[in-house]
């Protein structure tokens, strides 16, 4: 991303002359330093992922040993209306919320990257909700969105009569109407785009400043600068963040759905895959079935990665190095 800097990427620390780096004793020591992490990586991520693969083809309730089930779980999934709703909800959430979150973060980064009065405070403010523990944040929204007690509807009712808004309409029934509840979960998720925001802020600041001065001399309008310079230069970062967010969206719906809406309102309006897996496994103790659903989740992730990968590859052709 650096604009025409002549210095290439710094050589890795091993130094140019010694590709294998240090001697045998040092290598042993380095391997030991890496070992705990490798153990964690294998034991907590890679091995569990393989276990999922195996469990998905079994019936397993933690009491009796797993019994081979073949594709039973998957055929059951296909016919399971709740699973289908959860899958749809998950995809819809990702398609709606992820672009909104990334766009919001981009807008904030472009608005707040400069030194202006208030910008520092605003940056901190935009990050605050991300630092609040998920569960505390969920509790907060559980109250904010409460149709009767919640401040949001209290504000909406200001000026209206008999519990209606000033326009004479019923305020949104956040926790009981399926559409409003889905909107609420998206709204809640928008406030926690802090990490994406920080990365975009750093990316915008890393853009060479003289390129923007050049554009000013050429009298490029704000829109031209955004379209022709900022957006293309930040596109790789944006793509990466969108991917990350899409994957994370499989997860960060969990607490809001679990605490705020409890998967409801009926029928399963905010049951997402993560909640489905949790309930199937830990409430109904159908671990094999849950593993099969997990596998679907991982396949979704993989699909997202592949799509992004292709996009980035295509982009790379236009933009070497």
């Amino acid at each position: 991303m650096s604009a025409g800097s002549e210095a290439g990427p710094r050589a890795p620390g091993t130094g140019a002359g010694s590709p294998a780096g240090p001697d045998a004793r040092s290598r042993r020591q380095l391997a030991l330093m890496l070992a705990p992490y490798l153990a964690g990586l294998v034991g907590l991520v890679l091995l569990p992922a393989l276990v999922t693969l195996a469990l998905a083809f079994t019936h397993y309730d933690l009491v009796r040993p797993p019994a081979w089930a073949g594709f039973d779980n998957f055929t059951a999934l296909v016919e399971d209306p709740i699973f289908r709703i959860a899958l749809t909800n998950t995809v819809v959430f990702a398609v709606v919320a992820v672009p909104l979150r990334v766009l919001l973060a981009l807008g904030l980064a472009l608005l707040l990257h400069r030194r202006t009065p208030g910008a520092g405070t605003a940056r901190a403010a935009a990050l605050l909700p991300t630092a609040v523990p998920e569960i505390a944040y969920g509790l907060l929204w559980l109250w904010l969105l409460n149709p009767l007690y919640g401040p949001i509807n209290q504000v909406l009712r200001v000026g209206g009569e008999n519990g209606l808004t000033a326009l004479g309409r019923t305020p949104p029934q956040w926790l009981t109407d399926p559409t409003d509840a889905r909107a609420a979960i998206i709204l809640v998720s928008l406030f926690t785009m802090g990490e994406t925001f920080v990365v975009l802020l750093a990316a915008r600041r890393a853009l060479p400043r003289d390129v923007y001065e050049m554009a000013a001399i050429e009298d490029a309008t704000g829109w031209d600068v955004f379209r022709r310079i900022t957006l293309p230069l930040m596109a790789p970062v944006l793509a990466l963040l969108a991917l990350r967010d899409a994957i994370a969206s499989l997860h960060f719906t969990f607490v809001s759905a679990f605490v705020v809406t409890d998967g409801g309102p009926p029928p399963y309006a905010t049951t997402y895959l993560s909640l489905f897996v949790y309930q199937t496994g830990f409430e109904y103790l159908r671990y094999g079935y849950a593993a099969a659903a997990t596998l679907v989740m991982m396949v979704l992730t993989l699909a997202a990665v592949l799509v992004q990968w292709r996009l980035v590859r295509r982009y790379r052709r236009f933009y070497p190095r």
């Binding site: 991303m1 025409g4 002549e6 390129v211 001065e213 000013a216 001399i217 050429e218 022709r228 230069l233």
Partner: protein, 344 residues
């Protein structure tokens, strides 16, 4: 002086709370190549940035081709700029880079591309049009930046140390090309550099800047032969001009001009003669041999240092006792307190 291309009229500028330009007056004639020369931190780049409108002025006016542009934003001033880093857009091809200024001004795509090609041909980078900045060498990037600057036929070209990122051989080559380009286009150019050789070779006139103030404006010859201040005298020329108290150990030969009490005399290393057999006695401290020339570093009685440039074949030995002779005709006289030139 002919019609003015760029005029700074009592311009001051500040960075944060620190004033970096102090009421600078500078007039660049139309078609002139003016080099702003100074050490780093002198405010050279600020002169360009103020002219381009990238930096606000705190006082004074800026005029370009007769128009007062002080309150105009950069895009309306009709200047173009070559940045030290070239500021090429990394995601655009060379052709798109050159055409950028035209396209954001709504020039039809075909016309813009045609003119971009023409500009590229002018600076000799027409073969690179489809490449991207990441694939270019330093010299090629430099040409692209130049092409981008001249595609729009601006009133003034502003060049901010455009050669400083090139290696020596390329710098010498591009220096000559830049001068040829200027002569061919007849354009008004302001070129900023800290390299005195570059300034002497390139400029129609040189403005020497120091701590945000102009020390002297003149042709390269004027700057060299009649430096207006001690600073100019010592900044231009390498090794720097020798400077001694006028009443000191070394008395130049010939008829002395009328001297005030507090004066300093200056003479360039090449004006020093070690072969006369008379003059001030000195000891040779060290010798640097640079090909045909040798720089002889001497200490006069009383400890003052003097540098002499002599042919390598006739250099003295280290530690030798020699006599240092200079003539008044080769000597500059400066006021000791103000540093201003007194004579000749």
């Amino acid at each position: 002086m002919s019609e003015a291309g760029l005029v700074l009229d009592g311009v001051s500028a500040a960075y944060r709370t620190e004033t970096v330009l102090h009421e600078v007056d500078l007039a660049v004639a139309r078609g002139e190549l003016l080099v702003v020369l100074g050490p780093s931190g002198a405010g050279k780049s600020t002169v360009l940035r103020v002219a381009a409108g990238l930096e606000p002025v705190t006082a004074g006016r800026v005029r370009i081709a007769g128009r007062d542009v002080t309150d105009q934003r950069p895009g309306l001033r009709n200047v173009s700029m070559v940045f030290q880093s070239y500021a090429l857009f990394p995601h655009l091809t060379v052709a798109e880079n050159i055409a950028f200024g035209l396209e954001v001004r709504d020039t039809p795509h075909r016309v813009a591309r045609e003119r971009a090609r023409a500009a590229a041909e002018t600076v000799g980078c027409a073969g690179l049009l489809d490449r991207r900045p990441g694939q270019l060498s330093g010299g090629e990037r430099q040409r692209v930046a130049l092409a981008r600057a001249l595609v729009r036929e601006p009133d003034v070209f502003l060049l901010d140390e455009p050669l400083s990122n090139l290696d020596l051989a390329l710098r010498v080559e591009m220096r000559a090309e830049l001068r040829a380009l200027h002569d061919r286009l007849g354009a008004t150019m302001v070129h900023v550099t800290h390299d005195q050789t570059e300034a002497l070779v390139l400029a129609d006139r040189i403005a020497v800047l120091r701590d945000g103030r102009i020390e002297q404006v003149g042709t390269p010859e004027e700057i060299w032969r009649t430096p207006a201040t001690v600073f100019v005298a010592r900044f231009v020329g390498s090794p720097a001009m020798n400077l001694l108290p006028a009443g000191g150990p070394l008395q130049p030969a010939g008829d002395p001009p009328a001297l005030p009490v507090e004066a300093q005399i200056g003479f360039r290393p090449e004006a020093v003669n070690l072969d006369t057999g008379h003059g001030a006695p000195a000891i040779v401290d060290r010798i640097e041999v640079v090909g045909e020339d040798a720089y002889v570093y001497l200490t006069l009685e009383g400890g003052k240092p003097v540098v002499a440039r002599v042919p390598t074949t006739r250099r003295p030995d280290r530690g030798a006792a020699v006599r240092v002779g200079v003539r008044w005709t080769d000597t500059h006289v400066f006021d000791a307190t103000s540093g201003r030139r007194l004579a000749p």
